[in-house]
């Protein structure tokens, strides 16, 4: 069994290294400081990706700023404050399970109709971020729920015995204990948000100018990669470089989030 498990791990690492190796091999030559700090030229064949990086950061920022409070709030309600077999909780849970399976292209069409047209946000970073927030919501909620459920009921009983209100127990005990789940949720959500193409073409748009506000249209990195790889002849080199950059960025962000979650959990547990 040990052998099997090691070989599975090797297989997964092998596939990943193959993919990453491909990215690095084709993309490293294009990466430079100038690539990060200049605007694209010739439809992206030349020049850099500065405005696209900024747009992407803003879109993901909007997405997480909306999705985290919504998601954590919902998860807490579902696990801690609503009976497992209650109608309200079950309805919300079902609705979220359905939401988790909605294809990204449908999110794109929906976001375009709802945020861009009905709410009048137009093609904008705000519309894109909100569409993504809808998309990562189920992931975030699921993981936070799992995190909360995994906290042994003993914790809750001890807190009650100490005279802590349920809300207080939540802040000092349950949320810190649920941190690994939440961190995984944010990681998966962030990954999905950064990687999204189909939902963003129709909401945050195609404009590769530096955005001035959240109401400007801004092209996300993955949309840029898709356009360069599939629509622009001679765009592969910069597509690879952008994808490599995305991978490096993700690695850094992932490390930071994991670190924060660790630190958060550790420091909070000591409070008790």
């Amino acid at each position: 069994m040990t052998l099997l498990i090691w070989s599975v791990a090797c297989l997964v690492v092998g596939v990943l290294l193959w993919l990453l190796g491909d990215l690095i091999w084709h993309g490293i030559g294009q990466l430079s400081w100038a690539f990060l700090t200049t605007a694209p030229q010739k439809a992206g064949r030349a020049g850099g990706i500065a405005p696209i990086l900024v747009s992407t950061a803003l879109i993901v920022g909007v997405c997480l700023a909306t999705a985290i409070p919504l998601g954590v709030g919902t998860a807490v309600l579902l696990v801690e404050f609503s009976p497992q077999r209650g109608l309200f909780g079950r309805l919300v849970r079902l609705s979220l399970d359905v939401l988790a399976g909605v294809p990204s292209i449908v999110f794109g069409l929906f976001g375009n109709a709802f945020f861009s047209k009905t709410l009048g946000l137009g093609f904008s970073i705000l519309a894109g971020g909100l569409t993504l927030a809808c998309m990562v919501l189920p992931i975030l909620i699921r993981s936070t729920q799992e995190g909360l459920r995994a906290v042994p009921d003993d914790y809750r009983r001890s807190a009650a015995a100490l005279g802590l209100s349920r809300t207080a127990a939540l802040w000092v005990l349950l949320l810190p204990a649920a941190m690994p789940g939440l961190a995984v949720g944010i990681l998966l959500g962030l990954g999905r948000a950064i990687a999204e193409t189909a939902a963003l073409i129709f909401t945050s748009g195609y404009v590769d100018r530096m955005p001035d506000s959240l109401l400007d249209s801004g092209r996300a990195l993955s949309v840029h990669i898709f356009d360069l790889a599939m629509n622009i002849s001679g765009g592969e080199a910069n597509a690879y470089a952008s994808a490599l950059l995305l991978a490096i960025g993700l690695m850094v962000i992932n490390a930071i989030i994991s670190g924060l979650a660790h630190w958060f959990r550790g420091s909070r547990i000591q409070v008790i």
Partner: protein, 289 residues
């Protein structure tokens, strides 16, 4: 007290992210938005939506126009020809982009040609077949011929690459070969041009058709594809330009009513010789003399 501290701690990563994003934005936009030589009159904002083939070209034209007229903002959105038509009709966009001639049902719109493009048949470069007659192409695409041997090639099954229903490249291709789109039997159906090129480049027995400019560029730059002549005319942008190549299409900007103001000025700019170099850079054929 304890509670507030905890709250702020939870928010910190978020605030940090937003601050960083804003800082990056402010410092780079200040360096980038230096006004170029300004000309009078032009002010305002235009929104263009439509064909993904036309979008990169118009986005570049828009960039040059913005640089010359700092008061103007032109937002180009991609999405597909029919999107361009419907957005222009509904007034969602000021100008629509369409990568084909208008259909009879669309004659309520005004079209302005800004460039030409052709459709070329492509094979893998190792395929010994050097040319195919129109009748042979039809037989290939309807699976009456399924082995390269039958048209003078190796003994290998043919992989037919077709475009997805509704794409203007498919409509143009089917129209020229008088094929009903229903009659085409494909092994692979693709969306964008580059996907077709990569599919053919990765399969020695494949045949596909794509935008001629993309094919020409990729063939010159080391992709393993070659272009087939159609009706004995070499497939090249030069032959689209001198109108000898039989499968070509206009790339259009469309408006709901006769263009006025900035709309008009920008369309004229996009048709003028001031952007010929951009059109060529995107491997299309300019219309301006």
């Amino acid at each position: 007290m304890q509670k507030t501290r905890q709250n702020s701690r939870a928010l910190m990563p978020l605030l940090l992210g937003v601050t960083v994003a804003l800082a990056v934005q402010s410092c780079s936009s200040s360096t980038l938005s230096k006004p170029a030589n300004s000309s009078p009159q032009a002010q305002g904002k235009l929104v263009l939506t439509g064909s993904s083939t036309v979008a990169p070209l118009v986005a570049e034209i828009a960039k040059r126009y913005e640089a010359q007229n700092p008061g103007v903002r032109i937002d180009v959105q991609s999405g597909g020809s029919s999107r361009g038509i419907s957005d222009a009709r509904q007034g969602v966009a000021d100008i629509g982009m369409v990568s084909r001639a208008l259909k009879p049902a669309e004659k309520d719109l005004q079209a302005f040609e800004i460039a030409k493009d052709g459709v070329a048949l492509i094979l893998h470069q190792d395929n010994p077949v050097a040319k195919l007659s129109d009748a042979q192409v039809v037989s290939l695409y309807t699976k009456k011929i399924t082995n390269w041997q039958e048209v003078g090639g190796k003994d290998a099954p043919i992989t037919v690459v077709n475009k997805a229903e509704g794409r203007s490249t498919l409509e143009l291709f089917a129209k020229y070969f008088k094929l009903e789109t229903k009659a085409i039997k494909a092994d692979v159906v693709i969306g964008e041009n580059e996907q077709a090129i990569k599919t053919v480049a990765g399969n020695p027995n494949a045949i596909g058709y794509v935008s001629i400019g993309s094919a020409e560029y990729d063939a010159k730059n080391g992709s393993s594809i070659k272009l087939l002549p159609v009706n004995d005319v070499m497939a090249s942008t030069a032959n689209v330009s001198n109108q000898t190549f039989p499968i070509s299409r206009p790339l259009n900007l469309v408006t709901k009513t006769a263009p006025t103001g900035l709309q008009k000025v920008f369309i004229e700019f996009a048709q003028s010789s001031a952007v010929t170099d951009i059109v060529k850079e995107q491997y299309f054929v300019p219309v301006a003399q």
